[in-house]
């Protein structure tokens, strides 16, 4: 009898749930950083399934979207936040602006690469995976006779001087992850040294993350450090570009979350369920979107050369990304990158070029093999110059220090957190150090080159 009742109830539930789901109505406002190609395509399929819901996509850059939600929190009118970078969601979660939600749809594994797909605390949900890599313009590479890079370190080679573009971690959440990934994968000092060596070859640091694929597409620069879907969708739009995942990369989920106090929570829940359903996941394979679905079954329908992180275990597995470590020094990394690279790009480029030239001369001299050549002296000067460029204003442990980080925090958290120093003060100190180092490095490298 009891069983019968349960069965009966279950049957009733099963009968009622779909009709309930379809009966959801009203306006659903989603704050999103995605381009119309993504939002319109998803919106069309979703609205066909739920005719009662009108989806309103409010396009904001990730950073502006966060600002918008923060500023409007007192009188919130948005239902969802939909963007790539997990750390953007961490910021919102920290500000207590997100609503917990438990996903009902099945078939989503726990992790992609080394990263949990859904927020372990239950606030935001991963709906697609993204990895970082290198994209290049094939026409540009051919015209300038550049080789195809295989790994991050390749971008530091002299042949790429002035041909590489990237965004700054303070400007783009996805770029921040790339920087942090390499720092974790290569270690603090080697990681920064590698970034500076690559940055020495930069043509520019773009203000928006889309500025990088845009620059590569139009041929302003030849190679760019980008998130995969920028590369894949540019290719799908017909641009002569290619994309590659270097061995050290992290796959991270792109996310969606319900905003706290959402006016239309039922519709928001329906949207999440839809996005994670088989149907919603397949939309991601659309050539204009090209994101990696988080439901492994979806890949059966993907084009032949589509990367599959659930099959290709090397993808994103080389680095075990430590989210807590990243979160703990988030703003310090941004600030260091800006001080050492973004705002001193001219000086860094000049120093790098001087070192590259000196090294080339040394190389030739070594090949010539003349005993009288001042090779050792030059080598020593070049080493000194390199060390100056690579020098960091702070150590890794300092960067992770809580008190130090709070100088860079936007909010004064607690009165008890001791804060000494101001960001502008600290940055100026770093800047004068960095500037002097780069100038001295350029001088030493010049001396080394003059020896030959």
């Amino acid at each position: 009898m009891k069983k019968l009742i349960i069965n009966y109830t279950m049957a009733l539930c099963l009968a009622v749930i779909p009709s309930l789901a379809l009966a959801i109505e009203g306006k659903l406002t989603i704050v999103t950083s995605y381009p119309p190609d993504t939002t319109n395509t998803v919106k069309k399929v979703f609205e066909a399934k739920y005719p009662g819901i009108q989806v309103e996509m409010l396009k904001k850059k990730t950073t502006a979207g966060i600002k918008y939600l923060q500023e409007t929190a007192a009188n919130n009118t948005s239902d969802m936040f939909w963007a790539s970078a997990p750390d953007a969601f961490e910021v919102l979660k920290g500000d207590n602006l997100l609503q917990k939600y438990e996903v009902k749809v099945g078939g989503i594994p726990e992790k992609v690469g080394a990263f949990p797909i859904h927020d372990p605390d239950g606030y935001y949900k991963g709906f697609a995976a993204s990895g970082y890599g290198i994209m290049w313009n094939t026409r540009y590479m051919k015209a300038k006779k550049l080789p195809i890079p295989k790994r991050w370190a390749d971008l530091a080679k002299p042949v790429y001087h002035g041909h590489v573009g990237m965004s700054a971690p303070s400007r783009s959440g996805t770029t921040h992850l790339t920087v942090e990934t390499l720092l974790q994968g290569e270690g603090w000092e080697n990681g920064w040294a590698l970034w500076k060596a690559i940055a020495g070859n930069f043509k520019t640091v773009t203000e928006r993350s889309f500025g990088v694929p845009d620059g590569v597409n139009s041929g302003q620069f030849g190679l760019g450090v980008v998130i995969d879907f920028f590369g894949l969708s540019s290719q799908a739009s017909g641009f002569p570009v290619e994309f590659l995942y270097p061995p050290v990369t992290t796959l991270v989920p792109a996310n969606i979350a319900i905003v706290k106090g959402a006016p239309n929570r039922a519709a928001a829940a329906a949207f999440i369920e839809f996005l994670l359903s088989v149907e919603g996941q397949e939309v991601l394979l659309d050539p204009k979107i090209r994101r990696l679905p988080v439901n492994p079954d979806t890949y059966a329908k993907a084009p032949a050369d589509f990367p599959n992180p659930f099959k290709d275990k090397t993808l994103g597995a080389a680095v075990k990304f430590d989210l807590m470590l990243s979160k703990g020094r988030y703003n310090v990394i941004n600030s260091m990158f800006d001080v050492m690279i973004t705002y001193r790009l001219d000086e860094l480029r000049a120093a790098t070029r001087a070192i590259q030239k000196a090294e080339e001369k040394l190389q030739w001299s070594l090949i010539d093999g003349l005993a009288s050549a001042p090779n050792d002296e030059a080598k020593k000067l070049i080493q000194e110059a390199r060390a100056l460029v690579d020098a960091l204003p702070i150590t890794e442990s300092k960067a992770g220090e809580k008190g130090f980080n709070s100088i860079f925090k936007k909010k004064r958290k607690k009165a008890t957190t001791k804060v000494s120093g101001r960001q502008a003060e600290v940055e100026q100190e770093w800047d004068s150090q960095v500037k002097a180092n780069y100038a001295q490095a350029e001088k030493l490298a010049g001396q080394a080159a003059a020896l030959f």
Binding site: T29, P35, P36, D37, N40, E56, L58, K59, K60, K61, T62, A64, I66, Y68, E71, T72, A74, N75, T77, A88, V91, N137, R139, Y140, A143, S170, R171, G173, T204, V205, T206, E207, D214, N217, S218, G219, Q220, S233, S234, A236, S237, G238, F239, P240, K288, N331, N334, T342, Y343, I407, F408, V419, S420, R422, Q423, A424, Q428, D431, S432, K435
Partner: protein, 569 residues
Amino acid sequence: MRSLSRHQIGPASVALLLGAFLFVFLIIPVAKVIFVAFQDPNTGALTLINFSDFFLTSLFQESFVNSLYVAVMSVVFASVIALPLAYFTTRFNFSGTLLIQTLGVIPLIMPPFVGAVAMLLLFGENGSINLLFDEWFGFTIPFMEGLNGVIMVESIHYFPFILINLSAALNNIDRSMEESAQNLGANGIRLFRRIVFPLAMPGYVAGASLVFLKVFDDLGTPLLLNVNKMLAPQAYLRITSIGISDPMGYVISVILVVFSLLSLWTSFLALRGKDYSTVQKGGGGLMKRDLNPLEKAGCYAVVILILLMVLSPHFGLAILSFGTVWSYSVLPDAYTFQHYLQMFSSSTQLISNTLLYAGLAATIDVVLGTVIAYLVWRTNLFGRKWLDFVAMGAVAIPGVVLGIGYLRTFHEFNVPIIDKPLASWWVIIVVALAIRRLPYALRACVAAMQQISIALEEAAENLGANKRRTVFRIVVPLMSGGIVAGFITSFATASVELSATLMLVSTESDAPLAYGIYEFMQSASGRGPGAALGIVAVVIVGAATYASHRFIKSKNVEFTTEVTVATGE
């Protein structure tokens, strides 16, 4: 304290209303944002420490110098472009006049960030021109490298400010002045230096100071060209980065405001004590003379060369809108109408929104501009100069600061009847645009006011007209040229503004054109449709500008002489 005379009650109450409007929609929101600049980042106490940090930071010092350099050089280049155009059209019977007057304003009708995209494709290091140069001569020219690029884009974008104001001033010069000078034996350079140039000064200074302020404050162009060592981008980058909202961004905003006001004040000083008004308003404009064929050819060559250059962003954009894939090549691989079809299927509302917002904002602006100009130059109300200063100060408020300020101030204020926060009602976008563009209309109106002799009003009053009647029958009609110029600049630039709207658009159905273009330009496949929308924006705003100008002209035709687009005031 002396009490207000009966004559002053009217102006005084108008001034109070105006002051209240500016206070609520400009001062409070901005104060809410820049207050942070005066707070100790750690304790929240009031302090000036952030300002000392600013002046001690070499990055900011360099940014300051760069901003100044770019602004000055842009004024120089904009003058080089505008002076010949203005001179040819007002001095000679030159059949290219209409062409110049029409095409000369078009650069304003394009969001600077869109212009920069097109300029990069044409003049960038691997743009069409340099690819050709490289192929033919084996070298390239760094038009768009670093600060050069900013100066180039800015001067091409903003030179119409000088062109409009200067040709208006030239057209307003009383011909009898020139004739008298010639009768007294002045000619050529001397005539220009002693008569024409001084009389046209208010127009030139109005235009040049606008260019200087706009460039000094402009954000979109340096950002798009990835030049970040300038003040406005530094402020923006610091204010909008996730997690970092250190006070320096706000300090820079304060510095921008202060410095802009300072330069404005300097231009006031430069003009102070000089009376540029002429009594007669009939035989306006310089004497025109015919050109001989050789001179004509020379004029045409110069004009065509200049127009080719200033319209290059439009050519680039047009090619982009019809091209399929344009990548590292002189021209796109193939051509198509697809982008237009795709754009028209989704963007008609963007267009109607833009016309509504910009039209309303520009109307508000010329009304406020005329009123302020009158209050400042024709009354002796206490604090009238401050109205002018505060209204002009809007030019120095970065759009993003105003946007955040509005969200902060008006989000918790629900508008009765529609029951929505004011900050997410579309009217707030109109207000923001009106505030941001008020300085343009104001400068134009003030310049017009300065050229009207007060004797004309005194004459009207002697004949029995009261203040109101004088204003509506004498002052406003005589200013109508300036009002048209103000309306056009406000309208055209408001319809392509982005930085404040980007913060304030709260539903897609409220979005204006520039927002739509920006959105399109954020994806690889959206570049074509975005460019198509840009072209549509240029055409529509151009047509609307022309229509509004025709309309106003037909209303005032008996009061003004030769009012055309570029002969504003």
